[in-house]
Symmetry: C2
Subunit: 329 residues, 2 copies
């Protein structure tokens, strides 16, 4: 493969199905507010059947990151599994339109393209029900060796660990990347996801991950501590770079002896926090890919997170490239 990529993302390819609901809807459906739950096809259909009219758009945590990375001008690719159906075509169209290469064939049979039912309550909080669908089928055979070898960095979402074969795909990609001199980056995705796979994540962080993204809850869960500083000291021994986000308290970037405290970018009104972590990662990876210093990369990351929480939806909408250039990117 002669074409090079700065970052190749691997994730669960999902189309979001968004609707506004009242909190009573969550009670009636016995759903826990504010978290992401994996559901089967029947449950997804049942909840969808009870949902108000909805809007459909491309999503997925890693998909959101690659969208933001491309919006900044980064050269990225995306590996995920979709079905050759209308939702799959929507996902692939949107990636292509963003300028993200998606060198993966669509499955002609099997489960339909995965979807995430996003239930937005009036307080702008989101309750998510993910039916992985075709993404469940993601396995090592979908990791194209040439694509990974052509990448400076492979970026993967922790959500992949919810399925054994996706986890194998993850390990395979990490091994290929390292053998080819590339870096491996991981986001822990969700404190519950960390809880489900703590030992595997710890082994991964210690043996395979060069650049780690985690929010405070996730890193505390990983090291089973309530003390942020203790978790940070633990992780710095394992990863070349760890970016630990703390919502309005900003973020901490630690890399060996280097240590940066990055302020959050203040926003007029926090409208919807979904995608904050995804876009933070997009911003940092862009800075890293361009060889910028850690502090500048962190400021770009903060800018991206600030942009995405100031409106509804997990992908950036304004001219983030111009905003990035203003802060030294």
């Amino acid at each position: 493969m002669s074409e090079r990529f700065e970052v190749v993302g691997i994730g669960n390819a999902l189309v979001d199905v968004l609707a506004r609901i009242e909190p009573a809807f969550l009670d009636a459906q016995s759903l826990t507010k504010g978290i992401m739950t994996l559901v089967d096809a029947d449950t997804s259909e049942r909840i969808y059947g009870a949902m108000p009219p909805a809007v459909e758009k491309s999503g997925g945590s890693c998909g959101n990151t690659m969208a933001g990375f491309a919006a900044l001008g980064g050269k990225g690719a995306y590996i995920g599994k979709i079905r050759n159906d209308q939702l799959g075509q929507i996902f692939r169209h949107d990636m292509a339109a963003l300028g993200v290469a998606a060198p993966v064939a669509m499955a002609d049979d099997g489960p339909s393209t995965g979807r995430c039912l996003v239930l937005v309550t009036p307080d702008a909080d989101r309750t998510m029900l993910t039916y992985l669908g075709a993404a469940t089928e993601l396995g090592p055979e979908d990791v194209d060796e040439a694509v990974i070898q052509a990448a400076d960095c492979v970026y993967m979402e922790g959500y992949l660990f919810d399925k054994e074969r996706a986890k194998q795909a993850f390990i395979k990609a990490a091994d290929i990347a390292h053998a080819a001199g590339g870096q491996v980056s991981l986001t822990l995705s969700d404190p519950f996801c960390v809880g489900r796979h703590r030992d595997a994540f710890r082994a991964l962080v210690e043996n395979h991950v060069d650049i780690l993204f985690a929010n405070e809850e996730e890193i505390l869960s990983l090291y089973e501590t309530r003390d942020f500083d203790a978790a940070m000291q633990a992780v710095r021994a394992h990863c070349e770079i760890a970016c630990l986000t703390r919502s309005e308290k900003g973020s901490v970037i630690v890399s060996g002896d280097a240590f940066h405290v990055i302020d959050a970018v203040p926003v007029d009104k926090v409208v919807d926090t979904t995608g904050a972590g995804d876009q933070y990662a997009a911003g940092f990876l862009y800075g890293w890919a361009k060889g910028l210093d850690l502090a500048t990369s962190g400021r770009i990351a903060s800018m991206m997170a600030g942009e995405v929480i100031s409106h509804v939806g997990p992908r950036t909408e304004s001219d983030v490239k111009a905003a990035m250039q203003k802060i030294g990117g």
Copy 2:
């Protein structure tokens, strides 16, 4: 059929595919700004391929009207043709979630569910490219006699006249409705659509239509005049009720000797005029169905149009039922 409907809509069932674009995109694709053009599957695919990332949601002129009618509390049904595919399921879900009965089976083969590419320029204007898809297959056999007989009024969009068999479905529905003592309502849809089918529309208005909706351009086109008053005098001889809309100049409702001038409801900012006519019709039909006087029905219609132009998208978003009750509905 024991269940009764106040209004049964018949229209082209479409899923909107919306994206923001710069005017240069229209030039590059040789598209005429601000109008709706019918395109074939290949053209739809080609333009979609060139479009930025998009958002998908249920649409269709008559579908928008029935959505608004249901939002006001009206009891409606919708007849249209979709394919049993993901976009078709999205359309059907959204209708059901709105409380609109959609007693039509989904085709298991043939063209895919119709879609309308909606290109939104920074001036909030919309250029639309409609691939009718499965809607092309709508024919007389899809008009369920029992459903039409169960309706106080059948409401149809002029866009149906773009296909011969849909036109036959239209005439069949009108005949059944009249035989059962129901009313027939039509919206002219689009001045270009009127131009394409002027003679047929005139015969229809003179022989079949009880309640007509038309905007100024459409009624002028129908009677090939540049004088609004002349067009109005012509139409009042043919329809029991004619609702003629004039954008910010409000609307005129004429019914025999009765004559009402309804002011437009002022809005802070006109964000997107798409759906104004669809929602005006929804409001008027609601008042008519409830036996309200023409002036009150017209005020509800104006309220609905004002609501929908104050935000992006052709369906109402706020509590229009409460707003309607405040103005005597």
